[in-house]
């Protein structure tokens, strides 16, 4: 091949690959919408520090689920097998294995995230029950005032600050998951990376990351975040506030045919 034809092939490659990428984006956004809902700063906190406080002028939000659902009980042996993990019976003796071997290699799967639903309510109720029991123990002299205060603060943080998205199901096929959870205003189906590990003779499944965790904020939606960025410059104390401060913005977000998200509006609260 001549220099000219190779050079033209390189140019055609750039154009062709970009066309493919943009066609995929179009298919995701112009096809049927998989889910559309309004979240808040609790579920989509600002990620990193934007320019002029950092080198990167791009703004992004981070899709965040409740801490309690990152290693869920329902991710049992049957579900892990359905996701493609190979489970030995019985599990290997963990004490004989080095640290890297107490977990398997990660696999890709899909998760259903429920927003502000029964799973979230059960997390709040579990903390309420824990607090009630601690108060009883305090009355009997079995728990300190400090322990009760800490549980109260944790409950307040959960109610006002923490994400209300909870992982409730997983599987290899997003269509099956959508059939099982048809409420598109309540349930998101997202691609994620999962790991298997074994702890004390039983298997555990962990959600290690979402594949579209960082969600870009286009310029037309950045205005509502201006005051928050200024607060960041002065030092964001929201995390340490007591009582915890409520969310400062809400985000309308859609997930398309490829389960990739995009922001449609951001409003200050």
């Amino acid at each position: 091949m001549t220099r000219r034809s190779l050079h033209l092939a390189a140019i055609a490659l750039v154009i062709g690959v970009n066309t493919l990428v943009l066609a995929g984006v179009g298919w995701n956004r112009l096809g049927p919408i998989d889910a559309s809902l309004v979240l808040t700063e609790r579920e989509l906190p600002l990620r990193g520090r934007a320019y002029p406080y950092g080198e990167d002028s791009g703004l992004a939000l981070s899709l965040t689920v409740s801490d309690s659902s990152l290693s869920p009980e329902w991710l049992d042996d049957a579900k892990l097998r359905e996701l493609g993990f190979q489970l030995q019976d019985p599990p290997p003796n963990q004490t004989e294995l080095p640290r890297q071997r107490r977990q398997s290699l990660p696999r890709r799967g899909y998760l259903v995230l429920e927003f502000d639903g029964p799973a979230w309510q059960s997390i709040v109720e579990a903390q309420l029950e824990e607090l009630r029991q601690l108060r009883e123990k305090q009355d009997n002299g079995e728990a300190s005032a400090h322990q009760v205060k800490r549980a109260e603060r944790q409950l307040a943080r959960t109610r006002v600050y923490q994400s209300r998205l909870v992982a409730v199901d997983a599987g290899p096929d997003p269509k099956d998951l959508r059939q099982r959870h048809p409420d598109r205003a309540k349930h998101l189906v997202v691609a994620a990376e999962l790991r298997l590990r074994w702890v004390a003779d039983e298997y555990r499944g962990d959600i290690t990351r979402f594949l579209a965790q960082r969600i870009h904020v286009p310029r037309q939606h950045q205005a509502a975040l201006g005051p928050i960025l200024e607060q960041q410059q002065r030092g964001d104390t929201r995390l340490l506030a007591d009582p915890p401060s409520p969310p400062r913005y809400q985000v309308a977000i859609s997930f398309g045919a490829r389960h990739e998200p995009w922001i449609t509006a951001i409003t200050a609260l």
């Binding site: 750039v14 934007a50 080198e55 890297q100 290699l105 579209a212």
Partner: protein
């Protein structure tokens, strides 16, 4: 004739002139004046023509400057690529989505066109090489930032696109720096793809170095046959492929828990240490047999590395340090003796 062959001819002429002068000084040979002048005139004309046509180095000073220019081109390419990357990240947040996409797609296209212009104006291709690396960096930036803007699920196939782009430009202009960029991307794509065969999510392909062994061997195999018209390209395929395989084996020889194999960690490390020695030996043998100098150096380097890491494992903790380093020095001397024997055998054959 290409530039490498022209440079080899210049080097032969310089060696001939130098040896002829030495023979004359020692009264071994005395050419008649007419013959000597004829050879001198012919060589002068040839050197001028080769310098004009291929921009080769006709003196030692030029050769040293060329090396400096290659280094300047490499550092300039890396620095300009970093500048493009940071410049875009510094300002992209203030641009609308359409403008962001337009700039991202236009950047590699413009840089590729600029590379062609530079290649037309300068036969040495130092500037073309520099701009080519910047074009590659622009294409990497293009796909990675498009992924961020549209929240696209990451895919290992981006590495394949980057590899194809760099390799097309490398072959178009015979540029080794772009060949290395292309092979790096190709090895990343092959390693990630091999990783997915076992069900692994591709972003974690680095957790199992065996993925890189297969990729390295595949790239080595691509360089088995010489590529006429592309000087040193096959050598780069071979050395880069085996370098990748050696690095992966070195990792597994020291951290056996990262292996796919379900044996005990000690057994895995022993097997990979033995494999490292065998592969180093085979590499040296193959390099000598086929006159592939790069492979001989690579084999010797990794043979010594495997040996020293093993000695460190065995002796560092219990042996006095002076004795440890004394033994290392003695082993280095032994290696020198072995290599000198090999060298003498090569000279006799």
């Amino acid at each position: 004739m290409d530039k490498t062959e022209a440079q080899a001819r210049v080097d032969r002429i310089r060696a001939f002139q130098s040896e002829l002068a030495a023979l004359q000084d020692q009264h071994v040979l005395k050419l008649p004046d007419t013959d000597r002048d004829a050879v001198q005139t012919f060589h002068d004309q040839l050197l001028r023509r080769l310098a004009a046509d291929y921009d080769v180095d006709v003196s030692q000073g030029q050769r040293q400057l060329s090396l400096g220019m290659r280094l300047a081109s490499l550092f300039g390419a890396l620095a300009l690529s970093a500048a493009v990357f940071f410049f875009f990240h510094r300002f992209w947040g203030g641009l609308g989505t359409s403008l962001q996409v337009g700039v991202l797609i236009a950047a590699p296209l413009l840089a590729t066109l600029a590379m062609d212009c530079a290649a037309r104006r300068e036969r040495t291709l130092y500037f073309a090489s520099l701009i080519g690396v910047v074009a590659f960096a622009c294409f990497v930036l293009d796909l990675s930032v498009l992924g961020r803007i549209f929240n696209i699920t990451p895919s290992q196939h981006a590495f394949l696109a980057w590899a194809a782009f760099a390799l097309l430009l490398a072959y178009a202009y015979r540029l080794r720096l772009l060949l290395v960029a292309g092979l790096t991307s190709l090895i990343a794509w092959l390693s990630a793809t091999v990783g997915t065969w076992s069900g692994l999510y591709w972003l974690s392909f680095g957790e199992r170095p065996e993925n890189m062994i297969l990729a390295g061997i595949a790239v080595f195999a691509l360089g088995w046959r010489e590529q006429p018209g592309f000087p040193r390209f096959s050598g780069i395929f071979r050395v880069y492929g085996l370098l990748t395989a050696f690095l992966a084996i070195l990792m597994l020889a020291n951290w056996g828990s990262q292996s796919y194999l379900r044996w005990s960690v000690e057994l895995i490390e022993d097997v990979y240490q033995a494999s490292g020695f065998i592969l180093a030996g085979l590499t040296i043998w193959l390099g000598i047999k086929r006159h592939w100098t790069g492979l001989v150096n690579l084999g010797v380097t990794f043979g010594v590395l495997f040996l020293y890491t093993k000695l460190f494992d065995w002796w560092w903790d219990w042996m006095p340090k002076y004795l440890f380093f004394l033994l290392l020095g003695l082993i280095a001397m032994l290696l020198l003796v072995i290599l000198r024997r090999l060298r003498s055998t090569g000279a006799q054959s």
